[in-house]
Structures are given as structure tokens and as C-alpha cells.
């Protein structure tokens, strides 16, 4: 019995209605698939799981009772991908011959129905709904960056450094105020820098979720802005060799990207089950082209390879699962040549010049300045589950090497100006148990980070060497009754920081810090009526200052500024209240409104000092990391999807608004994302003649001028409003039972010259002009 429960697909029942039986032999694409999603451990229904038909790129979210419905389905064999935040997504193959009722099982690993995650799950729903099929296609285009994919979600912006370095911003916060999890490993890189993009290959992700609520109890107290969860699926243990290749070519950067993945499962005698998945991504882009000029030195090279092995052994009263995962990410990014400046006068000259000072012939070559990162991730996880609950043990190791090169004399350009090596070890144990309507989870974690400046750069390091020891304890519990769910949780962390730095007189000193941080969370979820759904999340979170905020001292070359840390800073404390009102009118229309209020006490930011320091290289403005008494953030995200003709015409609108204010000094904060509106109209059809999954979408995006920022402390006022028009299309067809797909995407159709307020290089150059992207995929 247990074996059956734990098995991947579970029970499938066929119900052929009279309707199906009376049709003739022509293909009928009007079947209905109804079903529900259950937790295979205890048969509980899984609310708000997403069921996605891979071949059709159609997704539905299960309702609060775990039920979902697909209409207009043709007879065929489909892969159903079931995802739920915090679970490993799972693929199940179902053959559809008529109207079908299915029961889908998911190993809801932590039995979590944590509602912050359901607020995130809204995004999960988006990812897999028709609205999200646009996003799904970004998965099909392996050239897209994580930041670019995430920016399709309302409330998410990107902090850019030109056309090729993207950092996600959730509800106005980025860098160390967000957490990124890749296959349950918390990404540990040099995330403090605004020009340091997360070391993630988005093409290898099979699902990406965004949690907009703060205080990720299981992940870290420092998730003030939210959590980004990236997962790869565990292949079915019965799968034979299967795989997928997707590629794209773009005209703007004459770039090429390809991603390939293979997987295989084995069921051995005596109930040993194994599976393997491996893949890689290859990406090359030359210089990007703005409408009026080449953006010299903005090419990229990216290679990524990963492998995952899982093993499952079922005993009569115990089930043991082991997962091993390894990933190597490498990226070399050119940085706009014209952004290399000496002092503030050079910056002013660059601003006055309107176009970049350095415009060379187009090339694939990456010269100076540039960044190179290698990121290795290894994870070993073992899980034991039985009637007493589930116990999980995890060890993961990450090594991050970041090298930054700049223009130097005498052949020294090949020596990095910044060379950082960061090792992170993490040991975690988790336990959970469920008794009737009550679920309890707890965990203990240990992190160790070791950051070293590799000697020989000939430059004083921007961040000193340090070691960080972190112990975390968390617990959360959940109660569910009919249409109401409640969840509460807490997390405590202790951070011991040991720094080894040189002072202004070049004497070594070794300060130590000890910080205590915590998170508390309370969430309620209620299905008010068939149409109205309401959710509310209140979270307290706190973040310890990072080493660059404490110990920066010196010239930040790419910002033409002198920056000073402050070693006396204390942790930021935040209170975020996130709400979601969801309205759904059958499959005709859906409206989600997400308002939020956020207060941060002791918010740390780099404040311009209105003073200049003169060095031999000229004068530099001085910035100091400071803590603001109180910062208030208020915003709203709204998403509307409307189907005037189901399975043909779709209209959608997305709006986000945010304001960030320093409440102590009564002024608006620098770097607040401008308001944004997106409107899209699309034709979509699951089947047409021999083609499947057809769609064509035209999107108009409007980004307003940022009026609510302090203008006195910026070298250039925020750029004006701009709009972008883009088009995306895709078709698929079968070749000997394998799926082939092809698509065309055009971005910035009108070839607008524009600059974005959140682009750090807006002082130097315009952003990318028109880009035609051809993409194809083959699933075997």
C-alpha cells in the first residue's frame, strides 16, 4: 500500500462519457480533463498546486480543495507537470482518449502549505497559466537571463548594469535582501555588489517561483524582499532515455544559445529505484546594438553543466531517498567600455556627450572591463520517511570565484583588479510531522562562509577577508480547516563575523561581530466564495549588515565614488504586510491584486554626502553607508487576464506601483522602481490541423518616469517615460511522435532609443534596439 502511495504517478481512472463514445473517428479536441492533486504521503488534497501540460504549455492551478480542470484537450499522450512551491516538481504521463478524471500525486516533501509560499504560488500559477505561457517560452529561449525571465512578473524589476548584467528586485529590494534557492541550496555569491548578477543558469531551471512575502522561515531571516525558488524536476524512475534540446539565435548581439538535457530512470530488483538527469547550457553573445550605435564590449560567454542523481529505496515501513546534485556555472561578461571612467569629471563628460565615448566595430571579443565568475554547487540530501514523520539531512558546498578586470597599463589588464574566492558549507536537518489538521515542521542549520581576496591584484580589496559562522533554528506549524488555513512560524539566527582588514595606515586589524536576527510570520488564507479568495501575510524579518556595508573603504571605480562602510551598524528590522485578493470567474477571467506595506527600521543604504574627496586622480563624491531610522515602502501589483474567446483570444494587463520613502528625513529613496504597465493581446490555440500549442502575442510595455525620487543627489535626473512593443510567437508539431517547436520573438519593435532609471549605465549609453530572436526546440 505504502509503495503505491509513494510511487510517482498514483491512481489514474478513465471515464469515457457518452459524448466521447458517439463522436466519429475525426480528432476531437473538446475533451475535459478533471482531477485533483493529492499528497501521496497522507492523501491530503494539495491546494494551489500547479498542473501544467508540457506539450500544450497550458497550466491550471488547483483550487483550495485541490481540484483543477482543463478544457478543449485533444486525444494524445501528455506529460503533466505538477509543481508546488517547496516541492520537487514531478512529471506524470497520461494518455487522454476521452474526457478524463485523474488523480495526481505529489510528494509534498515538507507538507508545506505555508501561505507566504502561496502568495508566491500566485506567481507559480502565473508561470503555468496561459498568462505564464509567455514566461514558459522564456524557458524555451535559453539565451534569457534569470532577471529577464523574472521581470515578466508584476512587482519584479531588474537592476541592470547595461545590457547584460541583471539583478532581480522584488518590491523595491534586491541583493542581500532577497534569497535565491537553487534545488534547495541557498545561493552564496558576492551578492552585495549592484553589478553582481546571481550565478544562475536560468535555462536549466524547470520551474521558477517567486515568494513576495517576507520572512522565509525555512530559508533565512534576511529575506526582507522575498525569495526566488528555482527547481529542477526529479525524473520519473520509470522513464527511459528522454531529453530536450532548445536553441535560439538573436540578431541584436548575433548571439547563439543552446540548452540540452537528458534523463533516465531505472527500476532495479528489490525495489531499488534510481534516476539521472544531466544537462548543460552554452551561450555566446557579441556586442549589443543600441538603435544609434554599438554598445562596445557588452558580449557574454556562459557555460553551465549540471548532473543530478537520485535514489529511492522502499521498505515496508520506511522510505529512503537520496539526492546528489552538482552544478558548475561559468560566465564571462563584458562591461560597456565607455563606462570605464577615472573620476567624477569623466562621468560628467560622459553624461554631456550623450553617446558613449568608445564605439568600436561590432565584435564577439570581450575586453576590458569585464567580470568572470565560476560557481560550483554540490549537494547531498538524504531523506527518511515513515509513520513517525519525515527527517531530512542535507549538506551542500559552494565555491564562488569572482574576478573583475579593468583597463590597466603595461600588460597588467590580464591581472584582475578584484579576485574573490568564497567557500560556503551548509549542513541542515529538517523534521516534520503531521497529525490530522495540524502540521509541524522544525529544522536546525549551520552555515560557514569563508571569503578570501586572492593576493596579487595590486589593488586594495573592496571587501576584506572574513569568515562568517551562522547557526539557525526554525519551526513552523500549520492548521487547516475546510476553507481556512493558518500558518505561523519563527526563525532565529546567530551570525559570528570575523574580519581581517587593513586600516588606512595599512595595519592589519581583526574585528569581530556578533549579530542576532529573527523572523516571525503569520499567514491566513480563506476562500470566501467561489469567486473570491483572500490571503494575508504578516512577517517580521531582520538582516545583519554585510561585510561591504561594514568595511567598504575606498574608490568604487565603476561608480566613480568613494564609499565608506560603518562598522557600528546593527541589523535591519523589517515588518512587511502582504495581501492578496484573487477573483476568478470560471475560465473567463482572473484578477489578482497584491497590495503591500513594508517598514524597515535601520535600513542600510549608501548615502551621498555632498562632499568631494580630492585624490591625484581628481575629485570623487563621497558616499557613506548609513542606517535610516525608518523607511516605508508601499505598493500594489495587479494582474488581469481575460479570455473573450476561450482557446483563441486572450487579453491581459499588468500594473505595478511602488513608493519608497525615508520617513525620518521625509524624502524619497534613490533607486525606487518606476511605475509600470503592460498590456498584451494574444491568439492562442492548443491544436490547429497538425500543429499544436500555437500562439502569437503582441505586448506593449510602458515604464513611467520616476518622479518620486530625490533628485539632488544624482548626477542625472531619472530618464523620461518610455514604451516598448514586442511580439512573440510559437508553434509545435510532431515528427515521429517527437515534438518539434519553433518560434519568433521581436523585442523593441519600433527600435526606440531609451534609457531606464534602474540601469546603472544610464549615464553612458542607451539600451538595446530591435532584436529578432529565432528559437527552436526538440523533445525526444
Amino acid at each position: 500500500m505504502l509503495q503505491k502511495l509513494l510511487f510517482l504517478t498514483g491512481l489514474i481512472t478513465w471515464c469515457n462519457f457518452a459524448f466521447a463514445q458517439t463522436t466519429n473517428k475525426d480528432v476531437v479536441c473538446s475533451y475535459i480533463i478533471k482531477g485533483n492533486v493529492l499528497d501521496e504521503n497522507n492523501q491530503n488534497t494539495l491546494a494551489y498546486a500547479t498542473v501544467f501540460i508540457v506539450e500544450l504549455e497550458r497550466g491550471e492551478q488547483s483550487d483550495s480543495n485541490g481540484f483543477f480542470t482543463f478544457t478543449n484537450i485533444c486525444p494524445d499522450i501528455y506529460t503533466f507537470r505538477i509543481t508546488h512551491v517547496g516541492c520537487q516538481p514531478r512529471d506524470t504521463t497520461i494518455s487522454v482518449k476521452g474526457n478524463t478524471d485523474v488523480q495526481l500525486f505529489l510528494d509534498h516533501e515538507y507538507q508545506e502549505l505555508i501561505v507566504t509560499e502561496i502568495i508566491g504560488n500566485k506567481e507559480l500559477g502565473k508561470e503555468l497559466n496561459i498568462q505564464e505561457s509567455i514566461q514558459q517560452l522564456h524557458f524555451k529561449d535559453p539565451s534569457k537571463d534569470l532577471g529577464q525571465i523574472l521581470s515578466n512578473i508584476s512587482g519584479i524589476n531588474i537592476l541592470q548594469s547595461g545590457t547584460n548584467i541583471f539583478k532581480p528586485i522584488i518590491h523595491g529590494l534586491h541583493s542581500d535582501r532577497l534569497l535565491i534557492l537553487q534545488n534547495q541550496v541557498k545561493l552564496s555569491g558576492q551578492s552585495w555588489g549592484a553589478e553582481h548578477a546571481p550565478e544562475i543558469d536560468a535555462a536549466s531551471a524547470q520551474s521558477i517561483h517567486v515568494i513576495k512575502g517576507a520572512g522565509g522561515i525555512e530559508y533565512g531571516t534576511d529575506a526582507l524582499g522575498g525569495v526566488i525558488v528555482i527547481q529542477q524536476t526529479i525524473p520519473d524512475y520509470r522513464t527511459d532515455w528522454t531529453g530536450q534540446v532548445s536553441s535560439s539565435f538573436n540578431t541584436n548581439q548575433s548571439g547563439f544559445a543552446t540548452h540540452a538535457r537528458i534523463s533516465k530512470g531505472w527500476v532495479l530488483p528489490n525495489d531499488h529505484k534510481m534516476s539521472f538527469q544531466g544537462g548543460g547550457t552554452f551561450k555566446r553573445n557579441g556586442d549589443a546594438r543600441a538603435p544609434k550605435y554599438v554598445l562596445s564590449n557588452t558580449g557574454i560567454q556562459e557555460n553551465n553543466a549540471y548532473g543530478a542523481f537520485s535514489y529511492l529505496r522502499l521498505f515496508s515501513n520506511l522510505h529512503i531517498q537520496s539526492q546528489t546534485f552538482y552544478n558548475h556555472y561559468y560566465r564571462k561578461s563584458g562591461i560597456l567600455a565607455a563606462s570605464h571612467i577615472g573620476n567624477v569629471e569623466d562621468l560628467q563628460n560622459a553624461i554631456e556627450n550623450q553617446k558613449p565615448f568608445i564605439i568600436n566595430d561590432w565584435t564577439y571579443k570581450i575586453q576590458y572591463p569585464r567580470q568572470q565568475t565560476h560557481h560550483h554547487t554540490f549537494k547531498q540530501q538524504v531523506e527518511l520517511s515513515a509513520a513517525w514523520g519525515k527527517l531530512q539531512l542535507q549538506y551542500d558546498l559552494q565555491q564562488d570565484r569572482r574576478q573583475e578586470y579593468d583597463l590597466r597599463r603595461n600588460g597588467r589588464s590580464e591581472i584582475p583588479v578584484l579576485d574573490l574566492k568564497l567557500f560556503t558549507h551548509h549542513i541542515a536537518t529538517k523534521f516534520n510531522r503531521q497529525i490530522r489538521q495540524f502540521a509541524f515542521h522544525t529544522g536546525l542549520e549551520y552555515y560557514q562562509k569563508d571569503n578570501t581576496n586572492v593576493p596579487g591584484t595590486g589593488f586594495r580589496p573592496v571587501v576584506p577577508d572574513y569568515q562568517l559562522y551562522n547557526v539557525a533554528l526554525w519551526a513552523r506549524n500549520q492548521w487547516k480547516h475546510k476553507k481556512v488555513s493558518l500558518e505561523s512560524g519563527f526563525r532565529y539566527e546567530n551570525h559570528q563575523l570575523r574580519v581581517a582588514a587593513f586600516n588606512a595606515q595599512n595595519e592589519l586589524y581583526k574585528p569581530r561581530h556578533n549579530f542576532h536576527t529573527f523572523a516571525l510570520m503569520l499567514t491566513g488564507d480563506i476562500q470566501i466564495s467561489k469567486i473570491v479568495h483572500f490571503m494575508s501575510n504578516i512577517a517580521l524579518a531582520s538582516r545583519a549588515p554585510n561585510v561591504s556595508e561594514l568595511y567598504s573603504a575606498g574608490v568604487h571605480q565603476s561608480a566613480a565614488a568613494i564609499e565608506y562602510g560603518d562598522a557600528s551598524m546593527y541589523p535591519e528590522r523589517s515588518f512587511k504586510w502582504t495581501n492578496r485578493i484573487g477573483l476568478q470567474w470560471d475560465s473567463k477571467a482572473k484578477l489578482d491584486i497584491t497590495p503591500y506595506l513594508h517598514f524597515i527600521n535601520g535600513y542600510i543604504y549608501l548615502e551621498p554626502q555632498n562632499e568631494f574627496e580630492t585624490t591625484i586622480r581628481g575629485s570623487f563624491p563621497v558616499f557613506r553607508y548609513q542606517q535610516v531610522g525608518a523607511v516605508g515602502i508601499a505598493g500594489i501589483d495587479a494582474d488581469l487576464v481575460f479570455y473573450p474567446i476561450v482557446n483563441l483570444l486572450k487579453l491581459q494587463a499588468q500594473y505595478s506601483f511602488i513608493r519608497m520613502t525615508d520617513l525620518t528625513d521625509k524624502k524619497d529613496l534613490i533607486g525606487t522602481p518606476p511605475n509600470q504597465l503592460k498590456l498584451a493581446a494574444g491568439l492562442e490555440r492548443s491544436e490547429w490541423k497538425k500543429l499544436s500549442n500555437l500562439y502569437a502575442v503582441l505586448e506593449w510595455k510602458y515604464v513611467g518616469e520616476q518622479l518620486y525620487v530625490s533628485r539632488t543627489n544624482d548626477f542625472l535626473p531619472p530618464p523620461g517615460a518610455y514604451h516598448l512593443l514586442s511580439f512573440d510567437s510559437h508553434i509545435e508539431w510532431k515528427v515521429r511522435s517527437k515534438t518539434m517547436g519553433a518560434g519568433l520573438q521581436i523585442t523593441n519593435i519600433t527600435n526606440n532609443s531609451y534609457r531606464d532609471y534602474l540601469d546603472r549605465f544610464r549615464y553612458f549609453a542607451d539600451l538595446q534596439g530591435i532584436n529578432l530572436i529565432l528559437k527552436w526546440n526538440y523533445n525526444f
Binding site: 537520496s322 571612467i341 556627450n353 597599463r409 549551520y446 569563508d450 580589496p461
Partner: protein, 169 residues
Amino acid sequence: MKRFSSQILFIFILALSFTACKKDDPVHEHENEFINAVRIEFIGGEETKVFEWNEDAVDPIVLTAGTLYQTNITFLNIEHHEEDITHEIEEDGHNHQVFITTTPADLLQIKSTDKDKNGLPIGIESEITTTSVNAGSLRVLLKHYSGNKDGNPSNGSTDVDISFPLTIQ
């Protein structure tokens, strides 16, 4: 089962073994390519005068009116064995240019005498002629180009930008 217990044990031992290591002290980086002093030599009127700018002191430049000087600029790292960095600039002359200017602008007549491999001035060596008695300042601006040297002082990135007080008597 037994195999897995030992696997778990192995992982923990592996993990704990990393936590025990002691960290070496960081090495102080010698920033030996940085210019932190500039010397300007004036040869003319039967004498040689040298003026130095560094972060602690600036020599006021005093010149004689109506005199032709041969001038030579030296860029130094005085913190690191008085290292002379001028030769690096000469070798990479096609990507560097020194601009000497004065305030008021007509204090001196300046003509650069050295050329890079493309025939453009480098500006380390010049001929400077003083006119009438006056006072003001002299600015030395060293620009580093990235293959885009065009003689424009607002282009390129700044390696040195300093000013000396200047008196012509």
C-alpha cells in the same frame, strides 16, 4: 539501511572537517602601479627647476617671464621605492595623453614635442614659453584611452588630475 547510515556519517565528517580550519592572515597589496607623485622639470634660462606634487605637499611653480623652457614630466609611485611609472605611459603612448593647461588660459604657450606611434602628441615632453608677469595655476591632466585616443581631454579615463600654483615673475 546500513549503507545509508554510513553515507550520512561520512557527509557530516566531511562537513565538520571543513569547519575546523584556521584562516591565514590576508596579504597587504602593494599598489605599485598607482601614481602618487608628479614631478615637472623646467630647463631654460640657464637653469633647471624641478617642482613636485604629492599627496602631502605641492611645490609652487615659479618661472621667469619671457623665457622658453624644455619641460619634462615624471610620474612616480613614491610609496613603493620611488618607482618611475613614466616609461609605462611612454610605452603605451598611443593610449595616453598629458594635457597641460593654465588658469588663466593665456599664462603659457605650450607645445608638446613627443609623438606616439600614430603621430599624436603624448605630452610628457613639451616646450613652454612664458609671456608676461602674472600668477595663476597649472593643471596636469593624464588621460588613459582605450583605443580611442583623439586628443580630446574630455574623452578617456583620468589617471592624474592635479594643479600647481604658478607664478611668473
